[in-house]
């Protein structure tokens, strides 16, 4: 009876959406965005990652983005439950996830619906939809499927119903598990990717397992490929040029963790929190290989205090967290500032305030990073803009922390954390690491806080150094580290701690301008929006618009040269993913509009009428959206 039903389904599907087969020549594309979505646990993640890896192997530019349900185990077939991966494949270098999707493989109609509702699909998007639901034993499911199917077709999407599970079942018993490799096979056909590379992926993933598992997966892969070849009326190729240098393909959190390895730090203290945790997971796996360790503390305060203790007594230490944990660490961060203990604090930002949207992307914690601890607590704040920068920023952060005896906050976000982008494989350099812990005797007369009058810098005394005995304190203190009740000393030491930021600023280069150094509009961004902003700028410049962008990697101190850059433009605006009041709201005016974060910083420093536009949708801002915003801004100028 099951068989019967499936037969019917196939016919029906065929009659509705599927076009008779016939191998057509591949259409050449500059790029395509494809996503694979399923209930969580059905392997769409794996399928997408493999596709990205294969395309990268082919020499394509890629950017993969995880589609993560907000819950651990959302109910099956639920709108909010889509789990999977989104891969942007291009001919050239790809810097961000791009706009809406061109092609989607969906394992059920509900997860598809979720994506449609979220407006994530291009109007003429191609949909490859598992058709088994049409003939499900539960009439409610059938009805739901048909309703959605009809609506989606009516909305103009090109839907191909595909009996994936049915086909898989001819190869394996648990078809639900194998479907993802079947889909991968189809996609390899669609994008003219070498099947051999897909086989390599399977070997990589299942190589350690039973040979039978590997074989079954390869069979599924090939079956998918064959079916697509036989049944689909389209196929693409995205020309690629293989890089001549080795590339690594990792997501932002893995890049962060690799940066920790590379920086020579030895201790990471953390408390689990989404989306920072995956960095610690990976580090827990590998850190011990280089003599490091991850300490899971009882809470974020303890994690920060543990890191401070370790830093105080040894090398600079790192603590990794996200929003709520970052708020909790503020008091301890102030202690590190006051004691001038080097410390790297990573905040993988998520949707706020409060618990907010734990799995979503946002850039909402910049102001807290700068101002979050009571009193004047100057610290360095930096933000990588690419996956590659996630790696290198940790190395830089470690070095700054240890050179200036400062706290360095590194802000990434859920977007970077879960996106993959190839970058040139780093070549390890000894200079990335701190020298061994100084245990030499302290020269007579030297003081534990011998601040330099000009730069505020002082040498750090480390336990174990003979003659360096002193008690570090979070109270105001003098050069001897004695508690200071004196007004002058208090003010002087505030001065020294602040001067260090200026000293660092003097070593920074002016940010570079993307595009011409003169024009009608300059867009300023920071962090993960880099690729999307630059792509939008590039597109508009190709259209003849005089727009450029500037991306800030240091948010505190702000690098020199910004004013001069801004002067080259008629208008400056910031684009970021944190809240700013909408000028179109009735009660919002210039006396009460709350600006987005970096806009506040820049307006205050440069007194330039910088406008801001922000979107806080928990998703990376799309280049197309940015383009629209910039167009609007240009229109206002006229």
């Amino acid at each position: 009876m099951n068989e019967m039903t499936i037969q019917t389904s196939l016919k029906k599907a065929g009659s509705k959406g599927r076009v008779p087969a016939g191998k057509k020549p591949a259409v050449k594309l500059k790029e395509h965005i494809v996503e694979i979505i399923s209930d969580s646990g059905e392997g769409a993640q794996k399928c997408g990652q493999s596709l990205g890896a294969i395309a990268a192997q082919m020499g394509n530019g890629i950017w993969t983005t995880e589609i993560i349900p907000a819950e651990i185990r959302p109910p099956a077939r639920s709108v909010a439950g889509a789990s999977g991966n989104r891969i942007r494949i291009g001919s050239g270098y790809i810097t961000n996830g791009g706009d809406e999707t061109d092609l989607v493989v969906a394992f059920n109609e509900q997860v598809l619906l979720g994506r449609v509702r979220a407006k994530e699909l291009k109007p003429n998007c191609i949909i490859l939809l598992e058709s088994m639901w049409r003939t499900h034993t539960d009439p409610k499911i059938v009805a739901s499927y048909i309703e959605t199917y009809d609506r989606v077709v009516a909305a103009g999407y090109k839907v191909y119903e595909i009996p994936m599970e049915h086909e898989c079942r001819t190869i394996v018993a648990d078809a639900r598990r194998g479907k993802n490799m079947y889909a991968l096979g189809m996609l390899c056909y669609i994008y003219s990717l070498e099947l051999k590379l897909a086989v390599d992926q399977i070997l990589l993933a299942f190589g350690k397992k039973d040979k039978s598992v590997v074989d079954a997966n390869i069979k599924l892969l090939e079956a998918g490929h064959k079916w697509a070849e036989a049944n689909l009326d389209f196929c693409y190729s995205i020309p690629a040029t293989r890089s001549t240098e080795p590339q690594v393909v990792v997501n932002g959190n893995t890049a962060l963790a690799l940066g920790v390895l590379a920086s020579g730090m030895e201790i990471c203290a953390m408390y689990p929190i989404t989306p920072a945790t995956s960095a610690s997971h990976y580090l827990s796996e590998v850190f011990e290989k280089v003599g490091g360790m991850v300490h899971q503390a009882e809470d974020e305060i303890a994690a920060c205090a543990f890191a401070i203790g370790a830093s105080y007594a040894s090398k600079c230490t790192i603590t990794i967290t996200s929003g709520p944990g970052f708020s909790l660490k503020q008091e301890a961060i102030g202690l590190a500032v006051m004691g001038e203990i080097p410390l790297v604090v990573v905040n993988v930002m998520r949707g706020g305030p409060s618990t907010g949207q734990p799995t979503k992307m946002e850039q909402g914690d910049l102001m807290t990073a700068i101002f979050g601890s009571h009193g004047d607590a100057p610290k360095v704040v930096m933000a990588p803009g690419t996956i590659e920068e996630c790696f290198y920023s940790i190395i830089t952060a470690r070095r700054i922390a240890e050179t200036f005896n400062m706290v360095v906050v590194v802000l990434t976000d859920a977007g970077l954390a879960t996106s993959q982008q190839p970058f040139a494989r780093p070549k390890f350099s000894d200079t990335w690491m701190a020298p061994p812990v100084d245990q030499s005797p302290i020269p007579a007369g030297a003081k534990p806080y011998d601040w330099d009058e000009t730069t505020g810098l002082a040498r750090r005394f480390i336990p174990g150094q003979p003659g360096g005995m002193h008690t570090l304190t979070g109270l105001a203190h003098d050069r001897d580290s004695h508690v200071a009740y004196d007004a002058e000393i208090n003010e002087q030491t505030l001065r020294f701690r602040s001067l260090k930021l200026a000293a660092l600023q003097k070593t920074l280069k002016a940010p570079s301008v993307f595009g011409d150094s003169k024009g009608d509009l300059l867009v300023i961004g920071w962090g993960s929006t880099k690729g999307a902003i630059e792509e939008a700028v590039e597109t508009m410049r190709a259209e003849g618009k005089k727009v450029s962008s500037m991306h800030l990697q240091f948010l505190q101190p702000l690098p020199p040269g910004i004013k001069e850059i801004m002067q080259g433009f008629k208008k400056v605006m910031t684009i970021e993913s944190n809240w700013s009041d909408r000028p179109e709201d009735k009660i919002i005016d210039e006396t009460n509009r709350r600006y987005s974060s970096v806009a506040i910083l820049l307006r205050s420093r440069y007194l330039v009428d910088i406008d801001c536009w922000s979107e806080v949708k928990g998703q990376p801002i799309k280049p197309g959206t940015i383009r629209r915003v910039m167009m609007d801004q240009l229109k206002k100028q006229k």
Partner: protein, 328 residues
């Protein structure tokens, strides 16, 4: 094996022979009669007797009168923030197991704001010696009830008397899995205080010493019942614990044979409120130390780092065709 000459040996011994003054720093700013002075004396004596190298010794504290302790030791010191002495000390010890780390914490610092860290520090069982300066009051902030204040304590936040029975730090500590050393001392019996401090120092693992400490400033009489009546102090003696001098035993006749390996008995004894048990309540030398479980003895060289990093990068590398063949 290298042999030292006798002179060298003697020189080194000389160098390592410390005097009390070697550990003293500044004039303690505690009130006259403050029990913290007695604790300081005992600890300085310990350092001298054990010949602890000042530069290899760290005292970590939180905030409170008692947390000023590190300032009065001529060793390294870390006078941090309120409630977080233990996690800071854990970080120090984890990074530098070669250092001797002591912790000074108050009843507010440890049992109130720091309570989560306290529970977990016991659990980690790192080789730290922890002194809980329990004066049953917030000293530094000028007299507020602390968790260990006896019920009815009149303080600035409980002007009509505190509302709750005092928290018993001993029973809480003994309730934590992995506890390895719990003792109680009182500031007014310096000889026993020293013996306990010494036993705590020699225990490998976290030794938790609660010290009943007088605060003449805010609670001038609160410990009088126990000070004035030696029989209300119960000395715990055992061949596996402490043994007391004849002189002491003459004054403190109330003694109890207690084997510190007996957890059930330890909890029962700890629960007593009328009598103050003094001595080692519990000791288990076999609980592993977290730093031993976690510490790597790999030499963290650039080579090791480079190798580890490259091994990881290999997993994620897309090789250009020609290199791939080379690599393979």
């Amino acid at each position: 094996m290298n042999m030292m000459s006798a002179t060298e040996c003697l020189l080194q011994m000389c160098e390592e022979n410390f005097e009390l003054e070697d550990y003293q720093s500044g004039v303690p700013r505690w009130c006259t009669g403050c029990g913290d002075n007695a604790i300081l004396a005992a600890v300085q004596r310990l350092c001298r007797d054990e010949g602890l190298r000042p530069e290899k010794t760290v005292f970590v504290s939180g905030i409170g009168c008692s947390s000023r302790f590190p300032h009065y030791m001529n060793t390294y010191g870390f006078h941090g923030i309120h409630g977080r002495a233990l996690p800071v000390a854990e970080g120090v010890k984890m990074a530098r197991p070669d250092l001797t780390v002591f912790v000074n914490t108050g009843d507010g610092d440890c049992c109130s704001i720091g309570a989560a860290h306290w529970i977990h520090a016991i659990r980690y069982n790192m080789n730290l010696t922890v002194f809980l300066h329990d004066n049953q009051i917030y000293g530094l902030t000028k007299k507020q009830a602390s968790p260990t204040s006896p019920i009815g304590t009149k303080s600035n936040t409980t002007p009509r008397g505190s509302y709750l029975e005092a928290l018993n730090p001993l029973t809480v500590t003994l309730g934590v899995q992995n506890v390895s050393f719990v003792a109680q001392a009182v500031d007014w019996i310096p000889e026993v205080l020293f013996d306990i401090v010494k036993a705590a120092y020699h225990h490998k693992g976290l030794s938790f010493v609660r010290i009943l400490q007088r605060c003449p400033e805010w609670l001038p009489k609160s410990l009088d019942p126990w000070m004035n009546d030696p029989n209300k102090v119960q000395l715990l003696n055992h061949e596996n614990g402490l043994q007391f001098s004849a002189g002491l035993s003459k004054v403190y006749k109330n003694q109890l044979q207690h084997d510190p390996s007996n957890m059930d008995r330890a909890r029962e004894i700890a629960s007593s409120t009328d009598l103050v048990p003094v001595g080692i309540l519990y000791r288990n030398p076999d609980v592993p130390c977290y730093e031993d479980l976690r510490h790597s003895d790999k030499l963290r060289t650039a080579e090791l780092t480079s190798a580890g990093l490259n091994a990881e990068l290999d997993k994620y590398t897309v090789w250009p065709q020609e290199m791939k063949e080379k690599v393979a």
